[in-house]
Symmetry: C2
Subunit: 222 residues, 2 copies
């Protein structure tokens, strides 16, 4: 069976899980405690990060960018990148926006500082970073709301990896009850739409020892 | 004419310049002072970052990841991503390694802290970050040296975007005289090979007001 090495609170792993599920590619999840730096895992990915996808033929693909591009080339029936060059450029621009800008300005400041830093023995949470994370969420929700009001899906006419990248970050934050859903109605409506897709079911079933999600996390009519 | 909005000390812009030149796609460079946040530029890329490529038909592509993938799809004659799925996964893994891991651990600590932060009025250089940048350069040069000794080019048999991503970061650091080339002979030999390619000429002619490169910067027999 195809294996995805992951961590449940990694938005990059969640993006890959959503892409695999939307493309109906079966896979088995395996939690990798990357901080243990297992030799066998470092042989698959010297960077020591998740996600890493290992195909049944043994091909290992490391890095969420490489995995998502690979999936679209290897399993092109359901494309998540759009058809025209312009559509594909827009999907990738937004994937990069969410994975770098949103990731650095919001997700890292909240998830890393609030929920991972201390349990991993890497120091106390930085209050200023946490406040910045909450402050940054507001303009980012406005961007998502603006895109969702301008277009059927975030990157255009079709559901794409841009939606999954955004939803991966938001679902990670939502699991930790870090999203104020009253900030933007259009963003909330878009998230409700994507959360209802069958591809999302796996994420909504996640339960992490020591950190329970709020009751609305798996509620499709939140 | 096709326009690339760039900054000369951005490794992400340099990667795109190398890809364009290697694929023999003519373009005009235009410096974008991103900190001025020009409305016309923000309309091209709301993230406000370079590089942004604007094609003659008006199509604007923002983000170095989106641009490089676009170039390979729009101008496939000279591919920089390899042929097989495995080759392409390896190229992308390494592009991500250099653009994120090397970028965060080395380039940002040195170029940003030493040469950009103060001139842009964003505070004094952080000595600890600079020391970390120099310390991190050593293992990264060993990785490059190891790859260069194991394979004809960093990602495999063919020159690829992985070589250009690595060379983009190193050439930025080298312009600022931040590379100790005695650290690894194999890495130095590989850099000498890629630096000699015609695609590199534009980078070697860069001259930035107020920051002169060391004499070996443009020397092909350094």
């Amino acid at each position: 069976m195809r294996i995805l090495y992951h961590l449940p609170l990694s938005p990059y792993c969640r993006k890959v899980r959503l892409a695999l599920a939307e493309k109906r590619i079966p896979f088995e999840l395996r939690v990798e405690r990357v901080w243990e730096r297992r030799d066998e895992f470092l042989a698959l990915n010297p960077a020591g990060t998740v996600p890493v996808l290992v195909e049944e033929n043994g091909l290992a693909i490391a890095d969420s960018y490489a995995i998502c591009e690979y999936l679209d080339e290897a399993y092109p029936d359901i494309s998540l990148f759009g058809r025209t060059l312009a559509e594909r450029a827009e999907v990738r621009r937004l994937v990069s926006w969410f994975d770098t800008k949103f990731g650095e300005e919001v997700t890292r400041n909240l998830i890393w500082e609030r929920h991972l830093k201390r349990p991993l023995g890497l120091g106390n949470p930085d209050g200023a970073a946490i406040r910045a994370g909450y402050a940054n969420l507001k303009p980012h929700m406005e961007v998502i709301g603006w895109l969702a009001e301008s277009r059927p899906w975030l990157a255009g006419q079709q559901l794409s990896l841009a939606d999954f990248a955004a939803a991966a970050h938001l679902s990670t934050l939502d699991y930790a009850n870090d999203v104020d859903w009253t900030l933007n109605g259009a963003a909330r409506d878009w998230y409700s739409r994507i959360k209802s897709r069958p591809a999302f079911r796996g994420l909504l079933q996640d339960r992490i020892s020591g950190l329970s999600p709020p009751s609305h996390y798996a509620d499709l009519d939140f």
